[in-house]
């Protein structure tokens, strides 16, 4: 099967900032690719390039074999766009929104009317579809936004942070829906800040860091690079923090990360329970009082740190603070 989404060496600069730095990727038909990264990693810019909204400075991208710049109109018939920067009209009803989008996909009136009906039903919006969108809840809006992206029967779907800010139940519904679409043959490119979302939906993951591809693979492959789990140690006294780090560092599979604000050490580990017991014993023997000791699955921050060698923005500031306090 050939690639439906093909990106070759795409670069984009805004002034002096490099949003995308020679990014390449490809997604085969019926597969889901997740772009994982913090704010400012270039995820949205890449989606905007593929959705024909932003012209790249260098490189080529194509959807279904059509170049996103030279054949933009054709590409637009092949894609559906939903997420944080696309939206729906507050003053129109749900149905009016969908029918307008259907018309602009150049479907026949009969076709888009029926299609709107189907999509509203499927997204559980049938009850409210004749009310103005301004009366909708956040979750309903997001579903309508996704519904709009489905109006064109597009074989390719871009979801830009589709669940950011949604409650867990709505998020699970949305995940289920995306999985149904993929089962029907839709190819999906999704951006997310959540490891869990990427893990749940994606066949493969690309980690973006400051505009370049830092790593790619399945979620298992990425987590293996980290070593599996994270040991979380919280000491009672701030003064013990550095001593605790040096004591347990050897037990880990990668460099530990300290968070002085929380008196916390995060250590990537391979072997779960044994390490937990060993660490607990070691710290007790040296008289370090603990508030908390446990094992958890790696978060995006952990994976990101392990792969890129530096923390995501939020943690970078903490690291600077720590430097200062030494």
């Amino acid at each position: 099967m050939s690639a439906v989404i093909e990106v070759k060496e795409i670069s984009k600069r805004f002034g002096t900032t490099t949003a995308l730095d020679r990014v390449s990727l490809s997604v085969e038909a019926g597969k889901v690719l997740a772009l994982l990264g913090p704010n400012g990693a270039g995820k949205t810019t890449l989606v905007r390039v593929l959705a024909t909204l932003v012209r790249p400075d260098d490189g080529h991208a194509s959807i279904g074999g059509f170049d996103v710049q030279k054949d933009a109109t054709t590409v637009r018939t092949l894609i559906g766009l939903a997420g944080q920067f696309a939206t729906v009209d507050e003053l129109l009803t749900g149905r009016e929104n969908l029918e307008l989008v259907g018309l602009l996909y150049h479907l026949d009136k009969k076709v888009y009317r029926q299609r709107a009906e189907e999509v509203l039903e499927r997204m559980s919006l049938a009850d409210v579809c004749d009310k103005q969108v301004k009366t909708y809840s956040g979750g309903m809006r997001r579903r309508l936004d996704l519904a709009a992206s489905l109006m064109g029967l597009s074989p390719v779907l871009f979801l830009d942070e589709p669940t950011t800010g949604l409650d867990p139940r709505t998020r699970n519904d949305l995940w289920q829906f995306v999985q149904d679409l993929v089962a029907g043959g839709t190819t999906v490119l999704l951006t997310t800040q959540y490891m869990e979302e990427a893990e749940h939906l994606a066949d493969s993951i690309i980690v973006l860091d400051s505009g370049h591809v830092a790593a790619e693979g399945t979620s298992e492959q990425l987590k293996d690079r980290l070593g599996g789990n994270v040991l979380e140690v919280r000491v009672s006294k701030r003064a013990d923090l550095e001593r605790a780090v040096s004591l347990i560092a050897d037990l880990g599979s990668a460099v530990p990360r300290t968070d002085p604000a929380l008196n916390q050490v995060l250590l990537p580990i391979k072997n779960g329970t044994n390490v937990l017991i060993a660490a607990g014993r070691l710290l007790e023997d040296h008289g370090i009082a603990l508030d908390d000791l446990g094992i958890r699955r790696p978060s995006l921050d952990d994976v990101f740190l392990a792969i890129t060698g530096h923390a995501t923005e939020a943690h970078a500031t903490e690291a600077v603070k720590m430097e200062g306090s030494r």
């Binding site: 905007r48 959705a51 024909t52 909204l53 932003v54 279904g64 059509f66 054949d71 109109t73 054709t74 637009r76 018939t77 092949l78 894609i79 766009l81 920067f85 696309a86 939206t87 729906v88 009209d89 507050e90 003053l91 129109l92 009016e96 307008l100 989008v101 018309l103 602009l104 996909y105 150049h106 189907e118 999509v119 499927r122 103005q132 709009a148 489905l150 064109g152 029967l153 597009s154 074989p155 149904d180 679409l181 089962a183 029907g184 043959g185 839709t186």
Partner: protein, 270 residues
């Protein structure tokens, strides 16, 4: 569970036909008209504002202004007709800035619609709102003593000129909206054409009463020549000199800002 169908892969490029482009423009016009109807407060203020200006100058300020050879009400009211459509344009600016801010423009630009259709649909809907406001202002004008003194044909031509002027300026307002982007800033910037073009014109007082340095600008700018053309069309007198200047201004403004705004739309990002 129903599975959502997807379209078959495409073998050839898609081409936009003029017929599809017109259909897109019609769809967008309808969307904007629905938005206008559903924000009655905005429609109301676009009617009430020129009516208030009319009343202020007719009854409070007008008594002190004497224009030789004409009743002041007949001098003033054609200018207020034009003010109504000039002021109405500021809602175009605001609406586009809002569409940009909300992400509507991204949605539309990612669809295979004809790109000019978005702005054509915006300006046509606003022309309809202008026509509505104009109807009320004409009615109020007649109520406070304004009279048409020329032929029906000339009067209709005058109304058509106001609509044409309003439509041409809508493209200037659209350009402002796309350039400024932020709705709040757009709200105040969109008042500039009023102050730059309406007050230093023959709208309220004759240009001959203005200081020498201002006169060359005031006498030749589009609002003055259009108002002079309207006065000639409604009240009689030589028309063609002003009319061709007014129409040329309208066509020129339309073409320049059509090109500029389409270009801004093509590259639009928040």
């Amino acid at each position: 569970m129903t599975e959502m169908a997807i379209a078959n892969p495409r073998s050839g490029s898609v081409r936009l036909t003029p017929r599809l482009a017109l259909r897109d423009a019609e769809g967008i016009t309808r969307r904007n008209l629905m938005r206008i109807i559903r924000t009655p407060r905005q429609v109301f203020s676009s009617i009430i504002q020129p009516c208030l200006i009319l009343l202020v100058f007719r009854y409070m300020v007008g008594g002190a202004i004497h224009v030789p050879g004409v009743d002041y009400v007949d001098y003033l009211v054609p200018a207020i007709f034009l003010e109504a459509v000039l002021m109405g344009g500021s809602t175009t600016t605001l609406a586009l800035a809002q569409d940009l801010q909300m992400g509507m423009i991204d949605r539309f630009r990612s669809l295979p619609m004809a790109r000019p259709a978005f702005l054509v649909g915006r300006t046509l809907a606003d022309a309809c709102r202008n026509a509505l406001a104009l109807t009320f202002v004409i009615a109020l004008g007649v109520l406070v003593g304004f009279r048409f003194h020329s032929s029906l044909g000339a009067c209709l031509a005058g109304v058509a000129l106001i609509i044409l002027f309003g439509y041409a300026f809508t493209w200037l307002y659209a350009t402002i909206g796309l350039a400024v982007k932020d709705p709040q800033t757009a709200g105040s910037v969109s008042l500039l054409p009023m102050f730059i073009l309406f007050f230093p014109s023959s709208a309220i007082v004759p240009v001959s009463t203005m200081p020498g340095w201002l006169r060359p600008f005031a006498a030749n700018q589009p609002v003055t020549v259009t108002i002079d053309a309207l006065r000639a069309l409604f009240e009689g007198g030589p028309v063609y000199h002003y009319l061709w200047q007014a129409v040329s201004w309208c066509v020129g403004i339309f073409l320049v800002f059509l090109v500029v705004s389409l270009n801004l739309y093509r590259k639009a990002t928040v």
